[in-house]
């Protein structure tokens, strides 16, 4: 949290003085935190769904009081903390999956039928790695296992064909 609240410029906050400066400072912090949360939200997509929502303080637009701004700032800090934790846990899971994939590629027979998708290791796309026997049942009996790499996402050609069909072409 302290790094989130680092000030680019020092703002003089006076206790018991003009609250406007304090509100301005809180609004500046909210801006920074919103940028931070936006970046985390974008980084996480599509691997982790981050809840970026912070409850609205008002149903109508209005200038917020100091306490309301503090509540918004604190909610954003909580959301960012939660998002970082989610991303960290996801990164650890992906690291474990990558290590598992490496082991499977080195010794497919030890990981029979195991399928690891690109999503599982944090990579974009629809492909997967699948430990399967060569030549079907014969390979199973003989212990000839290998890792097959799928060909990725379905082509868009079929969708285009369907559209043409709909248009009656």
């Amino acid at each position: 949290m302290p790094d989130l609240l680092d000030r680019e410029t020092l703002t003089a906050l006076r206790v018991g003085g003009d609250e406007r400066l304090a509100r301005a400072e809180l609004r500046r912090q909210i801006g920074r935190l919103e940028a931070e949360l936006g970046a985390l939200f974008a980084d996480a997509f599509p691997r982790v769904e981050i809840d970026a929502g912070v409850p609205a303080v008002s149903s109508e637009p209005r200038a917020m009081a100091l306490g309301d701004l503090e509540a918004i700032r604190d909610s954003l800090v909580t959301r960012i903390g939660g998002a970082r934790l989610q991303l960290q846990e996801r990164a650890e899971l992906e690291t474990r999956n990558r290590e598992l994939l490496d082991r499977m590629l080195a010794a497919p027979a030890e990981y029979k039928w195991l399928q690891i998708s690109r999503t599982d290791v944090g990579e974009p796309g629809c492909g997967h790695w699948h430990s399967r026997p060569r030549l079907g049942p014969l390979g199973m009996l003989m212990g000839w296992w290998r890792v097959r790499v799928s060909s990725g996402c379905p082509l868009s050609g079929r969708l285009a064909a369907v559209e043409r069909e709909i248009q009656g072409l």
């Binding site: 406007r20 509100r23 909210i30 801006g31 919103e34 929502g53 912070v54 008002s58 109508e60 918004i72």
Partner: protein, 225 residues
């Protein structure tokens, strides 16, 4: 015209100069950078001509889910999200105009046409990120401004009074709409409208050139129709 309103120093040729409205001083002190600019054009609502529909379709084709996800990292959409937070709204529930359009685009599979002037506003908002509103210019009394509501004020078509301090867009007589919210009944563009006012809401972090560009895009789209 209010003495505080001034003509914008535009580089873009709008044909009709945009007018910069005033913001109540205590609101401006709380929200530096908040502003409103508008233009007025002769025109009536109606179905969008084919070139506008085609442009809407082309805009749809250039807009994907990834754009929507990364939108909040871009400076102008981010500025509006921050402002929404600062005025107590949750931008993930009460969407900023450009994010609402992005969501509609993903849900509908494209930017659906809603006729003019709505389509012109959609194109300009998606291209620039600027929040735009349309009003029936003949129902406005003088210059537009942003201020907080006074005790006893209400918004036409809404039951009850506005709670004091609600931020509104107002003409010289009364509120014509909530800032980023409902428009007063009869103040929006309707079938009988013959002159349209397009207002751009500027917040801190949004450059004037982007506001001018948005108004220029709406003006050229409506003039070409």
């Amino acid at each position: 015209m209010d003495a505080n309103a001034a003509n914008s120093d535009l580089d873009l040729d709008l044909g009709t100069p945009s007018t910069i409205g005033w913001v109540a001083s205590h609101v401006s002190a709380e929200f530096p950078g908040l502003g409103i600019s508008w233009i007025e054009l002769d025109g009536r609502p109606g179905r969008s001509p084919e070139p506008v529909e085609r442009r809407l379709s082309e805009t749809s084709n250039r807009f994907y889910g990834a754009h929507a996800i990364h939108m909040r990292e871009r400076p102008i959409p981010w500025a509006y999200r921050v402002f929404f937070r600062q005025i107590g709204l949750d931008p993930d529930r009460t969407r900023t105009p450009v994010e609402q359009l992005a969501l509609d685009r993903l849900q509908d599979g494209g930017f659906k046409t809603h006729g003019l002037p709505a389509d012109a506003l959609t194109i300009a908002t998606v291209e620039t990120g600027i929040a735009l509103r349309s009003f029936d210019a003949e129902r406005l009394n003088g210059a537009l401004c942003i201020r907080d509501s006074a005790p006893g004020e209400s918004l036409e078509g809404r039951p009850g009074e506005l709670s004091q301090g609600t931020l509104v867009i107002a003409d010289e007589r009364r509120p014509v709409g909530l800032l980023f919210g409902a428009t007063g009944e009869g103040r929006g563009v309707k079938r009988s409208t013959r002159r349209i006012a397009i207002a751009a809401i500027q917040v801190d972090g949004v450059p004037q050139i982007a506001v001018d560009e948005a108004l220029w895009m709406v003006a050229t789209t409506l003039r070409a129709a």
